[in-house]
């Protein structure tokens, strides 16, 4: 059971046409804050703050170009917090002027159902496990990249990076991984991830095309971490086929990804199945 609260301060989007994005409240507001009963001051900013600001920039630019635009970001704040914190969350959102359309309060166990029933195009969290669980249940999800220096992450431009190793790999190549010790579950995970990333990529492609090559408030990128250049080329073509012409591309071929990611500082990192393995500690 969830309770959806509309934000009266924000103009409601047409949810059927918009890019509905659910963001975990722990990402928007710092969850480490001491729980003081009856506290009313605004919650501290969390890791997703520059992301929220960047989304606003994109929406504003879209509306400037076309006041009837419906392909906008529509943010749902997803909270598993206790009831006493609900009003504080809503008040904090108002305090910071965040463009959050709706607040969804539910239990942790019901989160996935809430995401599914609200036609969420992407669920964002800084927690890899949450992203993983959502993906396994078929909910498109991506990681909110936690920058090493939060002040460094830009608020003027939304950066979305797609991980391309699975997108660019052929069926044959993915099958071959079985011989290298990847389990059937993992391989299935790769396929599911590829499917769920497609819909979001299509939307990003459409949105990106609203802007010119230069000066766009939305910047998209592709990164292949362990594959050869041909997988990267294949991923570029696949994304292109889905309507997404990425701006940046990085082919690491096994080089460490943290230095590159720290430079690119994406807000959203659409991971493929590979990143959901335990070994993935490069983010935090």
């Amino acid at each position: 059971m969830d309770s959806m609260v509309r934000n009266p301060d924000v103009k409601q989007r047409d949810a059927a046409q918009a890019v509905v994005v659910a963001v975990s409240s722990d990402a928007i507001f710092d969850p480490e804050v001491e729980q003081v009963h009856g506290a009313t001051e605004p919650l501290r900013k969390g890791d997703a703050f520059s992301f929220m600001k960047a989304i606003q920039v994109v929406n504003e630019r879209l509306l400037t170009m076309n006041s009837d635009e419906t392909l906008l970001f529509d943010v749902i704040l997803l909270s598993n917090d206790s009831e006493e914190k609900h009003s504080r969350i809503i008040a904090s959102a108002k305090h910071y002027g965040l463009d959050i359309g709706r607040f969804c309060f539910c239990n942790k166990e019901d989160s996935i159902e809430s995401l599914q029933s609200n036609n969420v195009k992407l669920f964002l969290s800084t927690d890899t496990n949450d992203v993983c669980k959502a993906l396994q249940k078929g909910v498109p999800a991506a990681l909110l990249y936690r920058p090493t220096d939060p002040h460094h992450q830009t608020e003027d431009q939304l950066k979305v990076v797609f991980s391309g190793d699975v997108i660019g790999s052929s069926e044959e190549m993915l099958h071959g991984l079985r011989e290298q010790g990847f389990t059937e579950t993992q391989l299935q995970g790769f396929k599911t991830a590829k499917g769920s990333v497609k819909e979001f990529a299509v939307l990003m492609g459409e949105m990106r095309r609203r802007f010119g090559l230069e000066g766009s408030p939305l910047c998209t990128g592709l990164m292949t971490v362990w594959s050869s250049r041909n997988v990267c080329a294949s991923a570029l073509k696949t994304l292109r086929g889905w309507g997404l012409l990425v701006d940046e591309a990085f082919c690491l071929a096994g080089a460490p990804r943290s230095p590159i990611l720290n430079l690119v500082q994406p807000h959203i990192l659409c991971l493929d199945g590979l990143y959901h393995m335990e070994g993935f500690t490069g983010m935090s």
């Binding site: 991984l177 090559l213 592709l222 080329a233 940046e248 082919c251 096994g254 080089a255 990804r257 490069g282």
Partner: protein, 367 residues
């Protein structure tokens, strides 16, 4: 100036080891003969721009005259995307690096001390398909690339642990040098193109303000040659400070020693040259002693005592020649040598011995 490899505190071990295992798994499962790219911290990484690797003169013209949108439209046309680009000025160098790598792999099959070539371009990612198609066409071992979509590549050079950056854009090269990365601006050689060795990589360096700092160059420019010779003799035993390309020479030397260790000195596929205006009789000694104090060897030292470098380079036929002075670059180009300008030091303020009037710097759009 950059050390052989900068330390990378941001890297975490476990995630990368998993990546490495997956990468190995991926290439193993392909059962391909293609060698795996080395870990960046072990390799000598050379970053080349798209315009140095390939001849993109026509495309550049469209970009400059008609703007980025028309340029992208042109590049993405199906018929052009599959058209291999013509080799550019850094192409012979890249082929030579690949030759050295095959020899190294023969002698040290498990070693990662190899050249690693990275394509570093601020082109839009959509041009990537055409670039990769061209790389495939010539079967070049370039597995890593970075397409910044218009942003400055400088930060990425560090992120890719670059030892040497080659570009046609002097501004980017200057920025790289200021950030402590060895870099040089490449120029297409003139009409005369010399036949280069395809079994031995030859790299020629100017001395002052390239391998060495410009401290003595300053004396020569400001106080004249006589004072320069006097000074150099007086300070003969004091090593010069290092210049922007010193670390690259060091990296080459390290690879050369791997051949010597296997008794391949006479057949070493890397040869280095010092081509300097210093004279053997006087100022040359300090140069050689400095190299020795650094523990660096150079195969041939050519002291020209001020004579033009062009004719000598024409005989050496290096795959690349580094010099800080445009005067020498032009001289080299005229006689068919691939020359790369190192925009460092006092030499940038002079042309043919005369102080250049510095124009007011226009505020340019940084791409």
């Amino acid at each position: 100036m950059s050390e052989i490899k900068p330390t990378n505190p941001a890297a975490t071990h476990t995630g990368e080891e998993k990546d490495w295992a997956a990468s190995k798994a991926c290439s193993d499962s392909l059962k391909t003969k293609k060698p795996k790219p080395p870990k960046p911290q072990n390799a000598v990484t050379i970053a080349v721009s798209s315009r140095t690797l390939f001849n993109m003169v026509e495309e550049r013209k469209i970009y400059e005259e008609e703007g980025v949108e028309k340029y992208m439209a042109y590049m993405n046309q199906q018929k052009h995307e599959n058209e291999p680009l013509m080799p550019g000025v850094a192409f012979p160098l890249v082929k030579a690096l690949m030759t050295v790598n095959s020899r190294l792999r023969q002698l040290y099959p498990d070693s990662e001390e190899l050249f690693d070539i990275v394509l570093m371009t601020n082109n839009h990612a959509q041009v990537g398909v055409r670039l990769i198609n061209s790389i495939n066409h010539y079967d070049l071992t370039i597995e890593r690339f970075c397409m910044t979509g218009g942003q400055s590549p400088i930060g990425y050079l560090k992120a890719y642990m670059t030892n040497l950056y080659l570009s046609k854009d002097g501004e980017k090269v200057t920025e790289a040098i200021e950030e402590g990365i060895a870099a040089a601006t490449m120029f297409t050689s003139g009409d005369v193109e010399n036949q280069l060795s395809d079994t031995q990589l030859k790299v020629a360096f100017d001395g002052d303000a390239v391998l060495f700092s410009d401290e003595s160059e300053i004396i020569a420019k400001q106080r004249g040659l006589d004072k320069f010779f006097e000074h150099e003799q007086e300070f003969e035993n004091i090593p010069l400070k290092k210049g922007p390309l010193k670390c690259f020479l060091e990296a080459l030397g390290k690879l050369q020693r791997k051949f010597y260790a296997k008794n391949e000195r006479m057949n070493c596929p890397i040869r280095t040259y010092l081509v300097t205006a210093r004279s053997a009789a006087s100022s040359g000694a300090r140069a050689l002693k400095t190299l020795r104090s650094w523990g660096l060897e150079i195969d041939e030292a050519l002291f020209l005592a001020g004579a033009p470098k062009g004719p000598l380079l024409q005989i050496i036929r290096p795959h690349i020649f580094f010099d800080d002075q445009m005067f020498h670059i032009e001289g080299a180009k005229e006689l068919g040598t691939i020359a790369a300008h190192v925009p460092y030091g006092i030499g940038q303020k002079y042309h043919k011995g005369e102080l250049i009037e510095q124009p007011d710097k226009d505020v340019k759009d940084k791409k």
